[in-house]
């Protein structure tokens, strides 16, 4: 096997030094009754070329990007990714290094993550951001755990317009904590109804998503104000489409205490849902309660600028059972990709691209309305929205899939009361012609 460099004679020389005759003898400390008798039943090894063929065949069973138009977002977004990002990100120095425990020979990773942290704080309007979490859902769960730690409370309110997949992850993470989870309904405009907060006390956190699962922009300021009527309560915002902050007010400017979510849309391939990027940012006051790694700026013995992992006393490898989180490996390379992507867009490009997503979405909304589709929610959206397709669309859905169009995500599995409704997503990757085609197919 080409990954195993030892020749037979090298093995013999090494065994001789160790004082053993056979490779099997190296395992003498494993009691006989602990050794497996049955070999693992695995397919026989493929050559590099057989593997290529095999994987080509499997990949060919998936939609081919040039042919298929998928109008689904719902937490995973199809955006153009500049070729330079793939090129730079595939450099061995980024790919095959470990967590930067030895800063003198890891400054590349460290500066890249420090820059990522900075971009995230600027994007979200927050003071500090960590080096990444696993994904948007677990970021939200960790945000709520953090709020519970800070407030020493066991009750949170969460909007039902938060991505239902994220809510499930929150449920899972919080199950052993005995935390009470209160669900805030959504109103007919598609936004969170925070009225219930007035009757609720002792909340560790109020959590919403913006743009929310329906694509609607939440009035974060208003909800923050309500939440902060109890000054201990933390306002938590999550997101799955951070590009929205190119045109909309950021969380930091609206009283948010923790902003977290998914960063896949920032230059990371969809890759069937992972790896993505958990983003996590908060106010300075809470920095020592944050989960996850942090890179900080410092100087070396000669006074030169350099970067290190810092505030590690929050973390599991130092603090063990008292750590702020159990996270160790995170999504570092994805954070680097996101930084590259944001760097490539620049502030000007970021705003322009966000606006383009918005404009295209508005175009499709208008066109669908024109042909008589109902758009139940009136709130402002970014690049996603809910549509009620005409009756009997289920069958057409299948036809469109045959035609390589996936016309949105059916909402009934998540919201039974929204049966017949679909969540659509439009990004810069859809040309007007693609949108027109969708409208024509729906109409026909």
């Amino acid at each position: 096997m080409r990954y195993l460099p030892h020749t037979e004679s090298e093995i013999q020389q090494m065994l001789a030094i160790i004082g053993q005759a056979h490779l099997e003898d190296l395992f003498s400390t494993i009691p006989a009754h602990c050794r497996r008798k049955k070999k693992p039943n695995l397919p026989s090894p493929l050559s590099e070329w057989e593997l290529d063929d095999h994987m080509n065949r499997l990949a060919a069973q998936m939609p081919q990007p040039a042919e298929t138009k998928t109008f689904i977002g719902a937490g995973s977004y199809h955006h153009h990714i500049p070729a330079i990002i793939f090129h730079l990100l595939s450099r061995s120095e980024f790919v095959t290094s470990y967590t930067p425990y030895q800063p003198e020979i890891s400054q590349g990773t460290l500066q890249a993550i420090y820059e990522y942290q900075t971009y995230v704080t600027r994007l979200l309007g927050m003071d500090v951001a960590n080096a990444s979490m696993y994904d948007g859902a677990s970021s939200l769960a960790e945000a709520l755990l953090m709020a519970m730690r800070i407030t020493r409370r066991k009750k949170v309110a969460i909007s039902s317009a938060v991505n239902p997949l994220y809510r499930k992850v929150v449920d899972t993470y919080l199950a052993p904590t005995g935390c009470d989870i209160i669900e805030m309904p959504y109103t007919s405009t598609g936004c969170t109804d925070s009225a219930c907060l007035r009757q609720t006390t002792e909340l560790a956190a109020v959590a919403v998503q913006s743009p929310n699962f329906f694509g609607c922009i939440e009035d974060l300021s208003a909800i923050s104000t309500t939440a902060h009527q109890d000054e201990k309560t933390l306002m938590v915002t999550c997101f799955s489409e951070p590009l929205a902050y190119g045109i909309y007010k950021n969380p930091g400017s609206q009283g948010v205490d923790i902003a977290c979510g998914e960063g896949q849309s920032l230059g990371i391939p969809q890759s069937f849902g992972g790896p993505g990027l958990g983003m996590f940012a908060t106010r300075s006051a809470y920095v020592r309660n944050m989960p996850g790694r942090l890179v900080g700026k410092t100087t070396d013995l000669d006074g030169r600028r350099g970067f290190v992992l810092t505030l590690a006393t929050r973390e599991q490898h130092i603090r063990r059972e008292r750590a702020t989180s159990n996270i160790c490996s995170n999504q570092g390379l994805c954070a680097t990709a996101a930084a590259m992507y944001m760097a490539t867009l620049g502030g000007t490009g970021f705003k322009k691209l966000a606006k383009l997503n918005y404009d295209k979405t508005e175009y499709l909304k208008r066109e669908l309305r024109r042909i008589g589709c109902a758009l139940p929610f009136q709130a402002t959206t970014f690049n996603e929205f809910v549509v009620a397709y005409p009756n009997g669309f289920d069958r057409k859905y299948e036809t469109l899939i045959e035609k390589n169009i996936v016309p949105g995500l059916p909402l009934d599995p998540f919201f039974p009361d929204l049966a017949g409704h679909y969540l659509l997503c439009v990004t810069e990757t859809s040309a007007k012609a693609d949108l027109d085609r969708l409208v024509k197919e729906v109409q026909s």
């Binding site: 990954y3 195993l4 030892h6 030094i17 003498s28 009754h33 050794r35 070999k39 090894p45 493929l46 593997l51 994987m55 990949a59 069973q61 298929t68 689904i72 995973s76 153009h80 500049p82 090129h87 730079l88 980024f94 790919v95 290094s97 470990y98 967590t99 003198e104 500066q111 820059e115 900075t118 971009y119 080096a131 990444s132 994904d135 994220y166 899972t172 993470y173 052993p176 190119g246 998914e262 391939p269 069937f272 992972g274 790896p275 993505g276 942090l294 700026k297 030169r304 006393t313 599991q316 490898h317 750590a323 159990n326 490996s329 995170n330 390379l333 760097a343 490539t344 175009y363 402002t380």
Partner: protein
């Protein structure tokens, strides 16, 4: 020609991103505005982020230069104990970049996602064969995430049996994520000491295992590099009291094809695909930490699970006892795909051989260096061996100094000061992909450093000198954190 692989050369200074650029410059190819512009509601509109405007070449140079400041597996041996820094095959990256995978939306109708689902289904089967544990979920995004999932399963299991338990036994050699993951599930860790041989004694376990203890978290081989030879007795003791045995499988690289984790009594185990299964670590992730369980615990695994219906793969949510979801989608599919490619490339024979050679390399290093560096446990090891700085201490030289000096010889330092039970630990995990030549050069370097420690300790105390930066002020960094610019 020189013995030292570490040398110097031209590197480039590179400012921070926001110290570059010019307003209006751009590096992104903006698609056409082929629809009308629509104004944004004024009450919601924001100013957008304050990012510098850079050109394409600005970005290319920035990251090319940054990358050149990193040590990586492809540039040299990276014997970071417990991290299994083996070679990451490039062909696996090729597979992950196939457009059908790279661009797949996770919520595609199942019938459009058969290729991806098949990979997940088959990878689960392969990992089940390798670990011996029949049921699994690929959803956890890293080892610690797998631990959390495992502890959630443990928690749910005891809850279902009507007796929630409050404690969990964790050896003093355990990785920090173990107690931390357990705590997240409300368990109080009870630390157990390893014995003089560096392993757990069954009788010590027996002494503390009780009916309020949910089980034990055990790493096998453990972080000292030893196989827990009492394991069968230990798992029996735990099982007899109704507990579960959680195995931290981070060290699976030592025992592929050699130990069946179910046979030795493990109930739950996580794997680190980014260690044992050769997926790249990416400077900190993404990883993948599949969680494997016995048939009895299968109902608790996260949903959705990939199941096979006839010739079709479907994602099923229909597992009412499931702990729920731990990731928005199915975990780090791109990483799973690389591990799948690895297993398909290796097959059973080469995976076993990989473990044998990993153990061979570690024992060889142990034998060659034990006269030069103190070996706290002088006995055969598995895939890694732990030295200390005891012989060097009298010269005022610490493990940290040894690590820093090793950089100047062109090697990444081993893991240091872990496991915590060994004072000044130097934990060397060579992995099987390092050749004898490379290992020999590492040994030469380590011996030279041992000599330097005696003869000119300042060389070590002042190291590294030839790196991009010298030792950094970590205390200052933590005291006055500057976390963004």
């Amino acid at each position: 020609m020189t013995d030292r692989y570490g040398t110097t050369g031209l590197k480039f200074y590179e400012p921070l991103l926001w110290e570059k650029g010019a307003s209006g410059r751009y590096g992104y190819s903006m698609p056409q505005q082929d629809v009308d512009e629509v104004p944004v509601a004024a009450d919601l509109a924001g100013p957008g982020p304050d990012f510098p405007d850079l050109g394409e070449l600005d970005v290319v140079r920035h990251y090319t230069r940054l990358s050149q400041w990193n040590f990586c597996i492809d540039s040299g041996m990276y014997p970071l104990g417990s991290c299994t820094m083996k070679y990451n095959p490039k062909t696996n990256d090729r597979q992950a970049q196939l457009p059908g995978f790279r661009n797949a939306h996770p919520l595609l109708p199942d019938k459009l996602a058969q290729g991806a689902l098949k990979i997940m289904y088959e990878l689960e089967r392969y990992l089940a064969e390798i670990t011996g544990l029949p049921a699994l979920s690929l959803q956890p995004a890293a080892g610690a995430h797998g631990e959390l999932t495992g502890m959630l399963i443990c928690y749910a299991y005891h809850l279902d049996s009507g007796q929630p338990r409050s404690k969990i036994i964790i050896p003093d050699t355990a990785h920090g994520t173990n107690p931390s993951s357990a705590t997240l599930c409300g368990f109080t860790p009870v630390t157990i000491r390893s014995n003089a041989a560096g392993i757990l004694s069954a009788k010590d376990v027996a002494a503390i295992m009780d009916e309020d203890t949910a089980g034990i978290m055990i790493t096998n081989p453990n972080t000292l590099g030893f196989f827990e030879s009492d394991i069968k007795d230990i798992t029996e003791i735990v099982h007899r009291k109704g507990g579960l045995v959680y195995a931290d499988g981070a060290n699976m690289n030592a025992v592929m094809g050699i130990v069946d984790m179910a046979e030795i009594g493990m109930d739950i185990l996580h794997l680190n695909l980014h260690k044992t299964f050769s997926t790249p670590h990416g400077g900190g992730g993404p990883g993948s930490g599949p969680i494997c369980v016995t048939q009895k615990l299968a109902p608790y695994l996260p949903v959705p699970r990939v199941i096979k219906q006839g010739n079709t793969f479907v994602l099923s949510e229909d597992f009412p006892q499931s702990v729920g979801k731990i990731h928005a989608f199915y975990g780090n599919f791109g990483v799973q795909l690389r591990a799948y490619s690895y297993v398909r490339s290796m097959g059973e024979t080469h995976l076993k051989k990989a473990s044998q050679l990993a153990v061979l390399n570690a024992n060889y290093i142990k034998e060659m260096l034990k006269k030069h560096f103190h070996l706290p446990y002088d006995r055969p090891c598995m895939h890694e061996c732990v030295f200390t700085d005891k012989y060097q201490a009298p010269h005022g030289v610490t493990t940290l100094d040894i690590a820093k000096r090793l950089m100047e010889y062109g090697f990444h330092p081993p893991t240091i000061y872990f496991p915590l039970v060994v004072k000044g630990a130097i934990m060397v995990e060579p992995t099987e992909t390092e050749s004898k030549d490379e290992i020999d050069r590492f040994i030469v370097a380590m011996k030279a450093i041992a000599k330097e420690a005696e003869e000119s300790p300042a060389l070590l105390k002042n190291a590294p000198n030839i790196t991009k930066v010298k030792r950094l002020d970590e205390t200052g960094a933590a005291r006055k954190p500057c976390l963004s610019g």
